[in-house]
C-alpha cells in the first residue's frame, strides 16, 4: 500500500430513525439528521441526554435498536448489521483523551498508520505535529504533556489516518476555561485545513456555537432541532430548545393578529405570520437583548437585581404583572436596585408556544 486507502472524504453522514439503548430501554430515540462534506456538526444537550451514546453508535461501539446510519449512502449500522469500528474509517477524540501511556507522542499519532509505508508515516507524523503546534515533542511521553497538549495529540492521532469523519466526545470538558478558549478556534482551523467533516458532542453552547456549522439540540434521547447556531438561538422550534439555549423568559401573551401578540409590554409585531389563531393564549420568548432600556416607553418595571458585565448591564426587571424578565442596558445606564425604568421590546420574529 502506498498511501492510505481511505483518502476519500465524506460526502454525507445520514442518520434516519436511530434508536440506541441498553436492556431494551432506549437512551436515544428516533434520531434523524444529516451532515455534509466539510461540515462540523454538534450534538448539544444536557448531560444524560444520550448524545454521547449516539456518538458511540456512529463510531460503532453501540448497536442500534431501530433505524440506520449511512456513510455516503452505504449502511454502516442497522439493527441486524454493524460494520466493526475498525472498518468504518471514523476517527474519534475521547473525553478522557485516552492517549496510550506506553507510547511516545509520535508512536501515538502513528498508531492508526500501521498499514502505511515507513517514510509516509514519518512524513505524516511530522506534518501533524507541526499542524497541532507540537513539533519537537515526538519522543516525549503523554504524561509529560499538559492537558491542552495531550488534547492536541489526541486530535492528531484521530485524524492521522485521514478518516472520513471525526467524532469528538466532550473534547474540551477536562480543560480549564482559558485553555478551552484557545483550543476551540485552533481545532476548528485544523479541521477546516484538513477539510474534515466532524461531529462534536458537548453540553456547552458557547463551545457549540464557536465550533459548529450545524447544531442538533438533544434532550431525553430525542433531537429537538437541527440547524445553524443562529437558527437554534433565534428560531427555537421547541420550548426545550428555547429555554436551554441562551437566557430568556416566557411572557404570557394573547394573539391579536396574524403577526401580532398582546403582552405585558404592549402589542408586539413580528415580520412574519406566526400561524396562531386570534385570541389564542401563548408564551412569547423574550431574550435579554430583545428588551431594551427606554426612558420614553410607557411600559415600566422595577429592577430586582443587576450584574455589571463590563460592556453592559444585565438587569432583572419586574413588570407590573409580577413577571420578571431580563433586560440589557449599555454600561452607562447605571441604575440601582429598586429603581423603576422604562422598557421597550424589539423583536423581529416572534417565537411562541401555545399554552
Amino acid at each position: 500500500m502506498t498511501s492510505s486507502p481511505l483518502y476519500t472524504s465524506l460526502k454525507e453522514l445520514t442518520l434516519s430513525g436511530v434508536s440506541v439503548g441498553y436492556d431494551k430501554e432506549a437512551v436515544v430515540k428516533d434520531v434523524s439528521f444529516q451532515l455534509s462534506e466539510g461540515q462540523i456538526g454538534c450534538l448539544l444537550g444536557p448531560s444524560g441526554c444520550g448524545k454521547s451514546t449516539l456518538l458511540r453508535a456512529i463510531a460503532g461501539f453501540e448497536s442500534l435498536m431501530t433505524g440506520e446510519i449511512r456513510i455516503d449512502g452505504e449502511i454502516i449500522s442497522n439493527p441486524s448489521h454493524s460494520v466493526n469500528p475498525e472498518h468504518r474509517y471514523i476517527g474519534m477524540v475521547f473525553q478522557d483523551i485516552a492517549l496510550f501511556p506506553h507510547l511516545t507522542i509520535a508512536q501515538n499519532i502513528a498508531f492508526g498508520l500501521s498499514a502505511w509505508q515507513k517514510n509516509l508515516i514519518e512524513e505524516r507524523v511530522a506534518y501533524l505535529l507541526d499542524l497541532v503546534g507540537l513539533a519537537g515533542f515526538q519522543s516525549r511521553y503523554p504524561h509529560s504533556l499538559s492537558g491542552g497538549q495531550q488534547q492536541r495529540v489526541a486530535l492528531a492521532r484521530a485524524i492521522a489516518p485521514k478518516p472520513k469523519l471525526l467524532l469528538m466526545d466532550e473534547p474540551f470538558s477536562g480543560l480549564d476555561a482559558k485553555l478551552r478558549e484557545e483550543l476551540v478556534p485552533d481545532i476548528r482551523r485544523i479541521l477546516q485545513h484538513e477539510k474534515m467533516s466532524a461531529l462534536l458532542v458537548t453540553h456547552d453552547q458557547m463551545e457549540a456555537f464557536a465550533m459548529a456549522d450545524q447544531v442538533s439540540v438533544m434532550d431525553s434521547g430525542e433531537v429537538h432541532q437541527t440547524g445553524s447556531p443562529y437558527q437554534i438561538y433565534h428560531r427555537p422550534e421547541t420550548r426545550f430548545v428555547a429555554s436551554f439555549i441562551g437566557h430568556g423568559d416566557f411572557l404570557t401573551a394573547t394573539v391579536c393578529g396574524s403577526n401580532c401578540v398582546h403582552s405585558d409590554l404592549g402589542n408586539i409585531r413580528g415580520e412574519l405570520d406566526h400561524g396562531f389563531a386570534d385570541n389564542e393564549q401563548v408564551d412569547l420568548l423574550v431574550r435579554p437583548d430583545d428588551i431594551l432600556h427606554d426612558d420614553d416607553s410607557e411600559f415600566v418595571g422595577v429592577i430586582v437585581s443587576k450584574w455589571f458585565r463590563g460592556s453592559h448591564f444585565l438587569y432583572r426587571v419586574k413588570l407590573s404583572s409580577g413577571k420578571v424578565v431580563y433586560c440589557f442596558a449599555s454600561s452607562h445606564h447605571n441604575h440601582s436596585v429598586g429603581q423603576e425604568i422604562g422598557l421597550s421590546v424589539h423583536l423581529d420574529h416572534l417565537v411562541m408556544f401555545s399554552r
Binding site: Y22, V27, S47, G48, S52, T53, R56, A59, G60, F61, E62, S63, S82, N84, P85, E86, H87, R88, Y89, I90, G91, M92, F94, Q95, D96, I97, A98, F100, P101, H102, F111, G112, S114, A115, R157, A158, A160, P161, P163, L167
Partner: protein
C-alpha cells in the same frame, strides 16, 4: 453517562462464553467453602455433642484470646508508627517508612522457631543468665515463649505491618486543610490527632486490623509449635489424628463463622474509607519536625520493631544456617526445587484465572459476573486448614468414584488421581490466593481506560490487535507483580501444603516445620532463611510503590 466497556457491539455476544467460563471458575473455587458449610448443616448431632463437651471451649477461648492479644498488639505498634512516619520528620524517617514493612517477609512460624531457639531454657539468653548469676533451673523466672502469650507476641511482630500500611495511607490521604482548620479552631496538635486524624483514619485502621486477625486465625505453624490449642490445630488433629472428617469439618465451620464476621467488618470499613478520604490537598507536604532528643527518640523507637521483627531473627537464622546447621546437601536442593516449581506453576495458574475473571468483568460488566468474581476472591480470608479440608473431601470423593468406575469396567485399579497429587495442592492455592492476584490484575486493567480500547478500534485495530498492542504492554507489570506475590505466598504457605501434599513430597516450608517439630531448630534454619529471603522481594516491591506514590 453509561459506563460501558465492550470492545465492540458484535463482541458483546461473542464474549458471552467468557461470562460462562468466569462463573464456572467462581463456582469451582467456591467449592471448599460450600463443602464445609454443608458439613456443618448436615452435621451429626453426636459429633457436635462430643466436640462441645471436650475441646470446643478451649479452642474458642484460645482463639479469641489470641485474636485479642494480637489485635491490641498490632494496633499499638501499627498506628503510632504510621503517624510518626507520615506526619513527623526525624532522622531516618524515609528509611523507616518502608523498613517498617520488613517483618511482613517473615512467616509467623519461622519467627517463632527462631525466638524459641534464642529464648528457651537451653538457648543462649537463659544460658548466659545462668552462667552470669549462678542460678539454676527453677531459681529464676523467665518469659515462657512457648505459650499463648508467646504466640501473641510472635504474631504481633509479623502482622503489625498490615495496620501500619493501611493507617499510614489513611494519614497521608488526610487533607491538610482539615487538619489546619482544626488548629485555627483552637485544637492542639495532640487533640488534632485524637479528635480528628484518628477518627478519620479509623476505617483504614479497622481494615488493617481485620486483615491481621484473619492471618491470626489462619496461623497454624506458630500455635502448633507452641502447643496452643486453637481451631487450626484442632482441625488438623481431628483430621489427622482421629481421621474424623466430619468433626474436622464441623470445627472448620465454627472457624468459618469467625472469619465471616471479620470479612463483614472488613468490607464495611473498606466501604467507609471512600467517604473519609477528602481527596483535597494532601497533608504530607508539611511534617512536624522533631528536633534533637525527640527526633533521636523517634529514630530509636522506630528501629525497635524492625530489629525485633526482622533483623535479629534473620541474623540468628543466618548464623545457624552458616555455622551450626547440617550442611544442606542434594536433599535441600530437591526441597528448594519442589517449592519453586510448585510456586511457579501455582502462580501461573492463579494469575491466568485472575486474568480470565478480570476480563469477564470488564467485558460484561454485569451483576452476575461481579458477584461470581467476588465469590472467587473469598478464599483470601479462609485459613489454609479450612481450604485443605474443603479440598480433600470433594476430591477424595471424586477419586473414589473414578476408582469404582474404572474397576467396574476394566477390573483395573487406579490410584488417587486428584486428592493424592499436586492437583489438590494447586487447587487449594488457587482458592487461597485468587484474591491477591485478582487485586493486582484488576488494578492494572483499571488503568487501561475503556476509551483506550475504543481509540484503538477507531484507529483501525481489530480487538485482538488492541489486546496485543495496548493491553499486553500496559498490563505486563501488574501481571508480573501478581505472579510474584502468589509465588511467594505459596512458598510460605504451611497448613494446606502439609495436609494436601502428595506422599513423600516436601517443600521448604513443610521441611522447616517438620525439623522444628523434632526440636531440630538449628537444622530448620537454611530452609527458613530461604523462605524469608524470597519473601523479601514482594515486600521491597511494595515499599517501593509506597515511596513512589507519595513522592518521597
Amino acid at each position: 453517562m453509561a459506563d460501558l466497556a465492550p470492545l465492540s457491539v458484535a463482541s458483546k455476544f461473542k464474549w458471552n462464553w467468557l461470562k460462562i467460563v468466569a462463573m464456572m471458575i467462581a463456582a469451582i473455587l467456591a467449592l471448599p467453602i460450600l463443602v464445609v458449610l454443608v458439613n456443618v448443616l448436615i452435621g451429626d448431632g453426636e459429633v457436635w455433642q462430643h466436640l462441645y463437651q471436650t475441646v470446643l471451649a478451649e479452642y474458642i477461648s484460645n482463639s479469641i484470646l489470641l485474636m485479642l492479644g494480637v489485635g491490641i498488639g498490632v494496633l499499638l505498634i501499627g498506628v503510632p508508627f504510621a503517624w510518626l512516619t507520615s506526619m513527623c520528620n526525624f532522622p531516618g524517617r524515609t528509611f523507616f517508612s518502608w523498613a517498617l514493612l520488613l517483618p511482613m517477609a517473615m512467616p509467623a512460624y519461622i519467627i517463632a522457631y527462631t525466638y524459641t531457639g534464642v529464648l528457651d531454657f537451653a538457648g543462649p539468653v537463659q544460658t548466659f543468665i545462668r552462667e552470669f548469676t549462678g542460678w539454676r533451673y527453677g531459681e529464676y523466672w523467665f518469659f515462657e515463649i512457648r505459650s499463648l502469650g508467646g504466640a501473641m507476641v510472635m504474631l504481633t511482630l509479623v502482622l503489625y505491618p498490615y495496620v501500619y500500611l493501611m493507617s499510614r495511607a489513611a494519614f497521608l490521604e488526610q487533607s491538610e486543610n482539615t487538619l489546619e482548620v482544626s488548629r485555627t479552631l483552637g485544637y492542639s496538635g495532640r487533640a488534632v490527632f485524637f479528635k480528628l486524624a484518628l477518627p478519620l483514619a479509623r476505617p483504614a485502621i479497622v481494615t488493617g486490623l481485620t486483615l491481621a486477625l484473619m492471618e491470626t486465625l489462619a496461623d497454624y505453624g506458630t500455635v502448633q509449635y507452641f502447643s496452643v490449642n486453637t481451631f487450626t490445630t484442632g482441625i488438623l488433629r481431628t483430621f489427622y489424628g482421629f481421621g474424623d472428617i466430619a468433626a474436622a469439618s464441623q470445627l472448620a465451620g465454627v472457624l468459618l463463622l469467625f472469619v465471616a464476621v471479620l470479612i463483614l467488618l472488613e468490607r464495611r470499613s473498606r466501604h467507609r474509607i471512600r467517604y473519609h478520604a477528602s481527596g483535597l490537598k494532601k497533608a504530607s507536604n508539611r511534617r512536624m519536625v522533631l528536633k534533637g532528643g525527640r527526633g533521636l527518640l523517634a529514630t530509636l523507637f522506630c528501629s525497635l520493631p524492625i530489629l525485633v521483627g526482622f533483623f535479629i531473627p534473620v541474623i540468628v537464622l543466618a548464623y545457624w544456617a552458616m555455622f551450626k546447621a547440617e550442611m544442606p546437601g542434594s536433599n535441600f536442593i530437591q526441597l528448594a526445587w519442589n517449592s519453586f516449581y510448585l510456586a511457579a506453576i501455582a502462580s501461573l495458574i492463579v494469575v491466568s484465572l485472575a486474568l480470565v475473571l478480570s476480563y469477564a468483568i470488564r467485558l460484561n460488566n454485569g451483576k452476575t459476573v461481579k458477584a461470581s468474581v467476588g465469590v472467587a476472591g473469598l478464599g483470601y480470608a479462609l485459613p489454609g486448614t479450612i481450604i485443605a479440608i474443603g479440598t480433600i473431601v470433594p476430591l477424595a470423593w471424586l477419586d473414589h468414584r473414578i476408582i469404582d468406575l474404572v474397576k467396574h469396567y476394566n477390573g483395573e485399579r487406579v490410584g488417587l488421581l486428584f486428592s493424592g497429587t499436586l492437583v489438590a495442592l494447586l487447587f487449594a492455592y488457587s482458592v487461597r490466593f485468587m484474591a491477591v492476584s485478582l487485586g493486582a490484575v484488576q488494578n492494572g486493567l483499571g488503568k487501561i481506560k475503556p476509551s483506550m480500547d475504543m481509540a484503538g478500534r477507531s484507529l483501525g485495530m481489530s480487538p485482538f490487535k488492541v489486546l496485543v498492542r495496548v493491553h499486553v504492554p500496559l498490563l505486563k507489570g501488574s501481571v508480573l507483580t501478581a505472579m510474584l506475590i502468589v509465588f511467594v505466598d505459596v512458598l510460605k504457605e504451611l497448613p494446606a501444603t502439609l495436609v494436601l501434599r502428595p506422599f513423600n513430597f516436601n517443600t521448604l516450608a513443610v521441611r522447616a516445620f517438620e525439623l522444628a517439630s523434632d526440636e531440630r531448630l538449628v537444622d530448620a534454619a537454611p530452609a527458613s532463611l530461604m523462605i524469608v529471603l524470597v519473601g523479601l522481594v514482594p515486600v521491597i516491591l511494595l515499599s517501593r510503590s509506597i515511596s513512589s506514590r507519595t513522592g518521597y
